[in-house]
Amino acid sequence: MANGTGVAGASAATASEGAFLEVAGLGVTFGGLTALSGFGLNLEQGRLLGIIGPNGAGKTTLFNLLTGLVRPTTGSVVLEGRDITGAKPHVLADAGVARTFQNIRNIRGLSVIDNVKVALGLHESPSLLSTIFFTPAYRSGQFRTEQKARTLLQLLNLDDVRNLPGDGLPYGAQRRLEIACALALEPKLLLLDEPAAGMNPTETIELMELIKRVHREFGLTIMLIEHNVHFIMNTCERIQVLNYGQLIADGEPSYIRKHPAVIEAYLGAGAHDA
């Protein structure tokens, strides 16, 4: 896996056939500011990839590019052989890319279970006419949606609070609700943006277990942004490090831990010589 200080450029386009996710030369500039440039990634299905880097390194920008919230200026994203570069968020959700947000974004005006049902609507959206006339097909569809939502909420330990408003939960539970909504999309690729942010140590450990479990049980490919280095070293099989919008290292946790450029990015130049 470890391909050294992989500053993968356009050459990554010639990646192995049938790779799950192929990102090549991905970059975006806002005005004069380059938020991300030349990002490359070849990810096999079922992997758990960690992404770390100092503040402003471009981690969330990368997720925004992969989920269509920001359109890339350069590069390409190919998921299972399908070019999804610059597609709209709902198209990407349909293509199997789901995410959570760094600053929790559950829907205030909807209950916990309705938050999940919004995401479930991707696969069960009745026509306006069948909705208005309350047809049997509509009702059985809604029955299925209810069952699926309850199953997901049970999995994430949220079933007891399902009728509370989406933003009326404790912090840890709101994180779990975001993950429940992401899973409701039945994604192939799940992007988690700092899921442990603001959590206490106990909650963090629970979350770590949850992510591993979801990864295992759903056979998902997961990309995980995290500042908690302990968390990421223990959860991920492979780690990419970003700094100033550039990929500076890519490899296994043990490799990343000793990588000079990573140490320099986190501790400053010369730190690894000491």
Partner: protein, 344 residues
């Protein structure tokens, strides 16, 4: 699958029967003045409940409802106008049209459909905007529609307007359409569609990331809202029996928005309550104004009340809650306000 005979449905059916009886009694006993006020309540319920789809539930603040009313009003007026009036007013139109008179219900639906059809291209353009920008753009739509109505002489007769319509709008049509509107809006809001609308309103980025086709949801809400706006315009035209471009004024558009805000945007029952209050209150105040010989005071009182209302109860009477008949006879439902989340 639940049976259709639920407590909720029995209560709703009972309410409907009660409404029919009340309307029957009103129809038989009240004089024309009060009947017209009641009809107006029905018409304003249609308009407010439908505006709620965009302004309340999807979060697209539209000020263009009077534009869709104008489209519905003129369309239906052209379709129902009696032959004698037609020969006088629409002499420039083709002969086949001068001989074609549509029944009122059909004309009402046509008015709604044409408003909805026009809402499609309009929505494709203005829904690129959000917030204040959208509000101003929809106001622009009203200006365009009024200016067409003022200048398209052969069809709209310009400033003279269309007159001599039969007074077809009665209590039954006004409240029949009110019930249909409430039903459709309620079904839409309490469905996957409505959940998506609320998601778009509260956080469109999160909604999009959860697979909601944000633009399509907003467009459909806009078109459905326009349909009932057109229907409301048709009802109003056939209550007034004559329409001119100033009938569909800024005042009218703002009045409907005020009804919605007072009742509580984001609540179907709230929009009904708002429509009732803001129809009756000015009538009562005007009555008092005349009695005490204080012309103009009613306007000032309403304006002051609105300001006070916005300071002390910005979310409107109902906020996002619903007044649901089926819950009156049951235990109080847990209000979402109590958020002592049982953390596990």
């Amino acid at each position: 699958m639940k049976s259709i005979i639920t407590r909720k449905n029995v209560v709703l059916l009972g309410g409907l029967v009660l409404l029919v009886i009340l309307l029957g009694v009103a129809d038989a006993t009240l004089n024309n003045y009060y009947l017209r006020i009641l009809q107006l309540i029905g018409i304003y319920i249609v308009l407010t409940a439908s505006l709620n789809l965009t302004n309340g539930f999807t979060g697209d603040f539209s000020l263009g409802h009077a534009a869709f009313m104008a489209i519905g009003g003129y369309t239906s007026a052209l379709l129902t106008m009696p032959l004698a009036a037609r020969a006088l007013q629409l002499a420039e139109l083709p002969v086949w049209f001068q001989e074609f008179v549509s029944p009122f219900p059909l004309a009402t639906v046509f008015g709604g459909i044409l408003a909805a059809i026009i809402a499609l291209p309009v929505g494709l353009v203005v829904l690129r905007l959000r917030g204040h920008y959208l509000a101003v753009a929809t106001l622009g739509l009203l200006i365009i529609v009024k200016s067409i109505a003022s200048n398209w002489e052969p069809v709209t007769r310009g400033a003279r307007g269309l007159s001599g319509l039969n007074a077809e709008t009665n209590l039954w049509w006004a409240f029949g359409w009110a019930v249909i509107t409430i039903f459709v809006v309620w079904r839409m809001v309490h469905s996957p569609f409505g959940r998506s609308m609320i998601a778009v309103r509260d956080d469109s980025v999160a909604a999009a990331s959860r697979g909601v086709h944000v633009f399509r949801i907003r467009l459909v809400a806009f078109i459905m809202s326009a349909f009932f706006g057109g229907v409301g315009g048709a009802l109003l035209a056939h209550q007034l029996t004559a329409i001119t471009p100033p009938t569909f004024s800024f005042d009218l558009t703002f009045l409907i928005v005020i009804m919605l805000v007072i009742g509580g945007s984001g609540s179907v029952t709230g929009s009904v309550i708002g429509a009732i209050i803001m129809t009756i209150l000015p009538v009562i105040l005007r009555d008092l104004e005349r009695r005490f010989d204080l012309p103009g005071v009613s306007q000032i009182i309403i304006a002051a009340a609105l300001i006070a209302f916005m300071i002390f109860r910005r979310q409107g009477l109902m906020g996002h809650r619903e007044l649901h008949p089926s819950t009156w006879f049951m235990k109080k439902p847990a209000t979402p306000a109590s958020v002592d989340a049982p953390q596990q």
